[in-house]
Symmetry: C2
Subunit: 103 residues, 2 copies
DNA sequence: TTTGTATTTAAGTATTGACTTAAATAATCT
DNA sequence: AGATTATTTAAGTCAATACTTAAATACAAA
């Protein structure tokens, strides 16, 4: 489940698309494609991966598909990470508690 | 740079290894390998990927290689994510400011 | 209702990635 | 030194993924 999100972000073009959407808010598939040298079809395929990972959402507007970040999914990722670092830091804390105790 | 981290986390076995290290703190390559059905060589290759992404660090202890999370790199990832969500939320805030203003 | 514009889907190819077994390296113990 | 244990590296194979061009779909406008 998270692995899908991570693999969506693992590809540099897709990571840049996320950056663009975070910075600029809402962009059409065409506007996104212009930022890259590869074909519009390739970008469309990347957008599909991001959509399936629920990292972005689309709405139709005339012929355009306008993409936005899905902040809920970004938050999901953040909390996954946060849980791991908290667990880790918790362990370090009990380690230093232990060291303080035996000292 | 981040893409390397994300692709390290994109593989389910590697993601599980990160989970194990977050939960249990420090494990040898062998202890990690026992948790999976694939060969020790395969796990070693996964550990190499995690090492190269700086998500884990190793120390030698007799014949063993003992692995730990690298909290600095986990934190790096967290702050990358946080920056994007903050940027996004900032945009939403100025949007609602704007809507409040014209109302 | 045909033409244009935006985007996606299909099909094929080439690269990358994950696995296997076998061999190599590292450190310890007898 | 030689044997044992722990781990990594090498080489090869198979599947997954990222790209291309061409065709299809969606909608708007003439």
């Amino acid at each position: 489940m998270q692995a899908t999100m991570f693999s969506a972000l693992a590809e540099p073009t897709r990571l840049s698309i996320i950056d663009m959407l975070a910075a600029r808010g809402e962009l059409s598939a065409g506007e996104i494609a212009h930022a890259f040298t590869s074909s519009a079809a390739a970008i469309s395929q990347h957008l599909k991966v991001l959509r399936e990972a629920r990292l972005v959402v689309v709405k139709k507007q005339a012929q355009q598909r306008r993409y936005q970040l899905n902040p809920a999914q970004m938050a999901e990722l953040e909390s996954w990470l946060h849980a791991r670092t908290a667990q880790w830091n918790g362990r370090l804390d009990s380690m230093s508690d232990y060291l303080n105790t035996i000292k």
